[in-house]
Amino acid sequence: MASKTANRTPPRSRREPAGRPPGRDKYSVLLPTYNERENLPLIVWLLVKSFSESGIDYEIIIIDDGSPDGTREVAEQLENIYGSDKILLRPREKKLGLGTAYIHGMKHATGNYIIIMDADLSHHPKFIPEFIRKQKEGNFDIVSGTRYKGNGGVYGWDLKRKLIRLYRKEVLQKLIEKCVSKGYVFQMEMIVRARQLHYTIGEVPITFVDRVYGESKLGGNEIVSFLKGLLTLFATT
């Protein structure tokens, strides 16, 4: 695997899942959580349902950043119910940021594909088999969910940039290494860097349902920080 990532552009013919026997793909879902006590059991149940119904090998890695609301206890119960081979708890002491949560989660991931999503039910796991199908169809390095095309859409007007993406594990590792922004801008930067490195990106239309539990924070603030992030990327990449 080291030889693959050392070059600037992997040639197309070498895009095989690394490190696993052929035909035995495993998908690691990274779920960074902070105060998601209500949503976590539901998202995990939906993930287990989607994967089991499609016969896909998976694991769910929950990276809780010291949530004060008892998210960790809920995660422990889920681990008991579904098994510690499927639900991996890899918590941290305090809020350390999204980027480092992914790095931390990836260290413990045994899958050859990584799925990144929010734990707040804004994206429904039922789309994941479609992501997987799309990835195989186009041999894509990254598959991203879009609300703007096809049957995509929203219910509720949360403008926050929620992202759900499937990555080849080695691609995500390479991108994280290159990205320098923080927070949500970092997710935008990953796609910019991915294009620069000539990774292939596929899209799947998804529906986005505004958060069911918890407060929805719609505000000009989000728009301003999005524009700031965009300008930063424009000037630095």
Binding site: L42, W45, G153, A235
Partner: protein
Amino acid sequence: MEPGRARRRATMTKLAQWLWALALLGSAWAALTLGALDLPSSCREVLWPLPAYLLVSAGCYALATVGYRVATFHDCEDAARELQSQIQEARADLSRRGMRF
């Protein structure tokens, strides 16, 4: 050894690319409107306000696109309903398996 790092050439940032392109086009426009190539005056009359026209058109196009996209954004009530019913199902199933909410 990190051969990738040693070989990497510096690429221009998008900002730098745009400034470069603007400088090029801007100096071409300035040269032509000030008479570098002795163009007929009808050409010059069109060329002179061209940047302003392009700017305004770009602005209108942007607004129109945003407006259109907002107006045609899919609203998915079905997805919301489906999610609600699955939440009920999930809570029941998890309680059966021992989850204490």
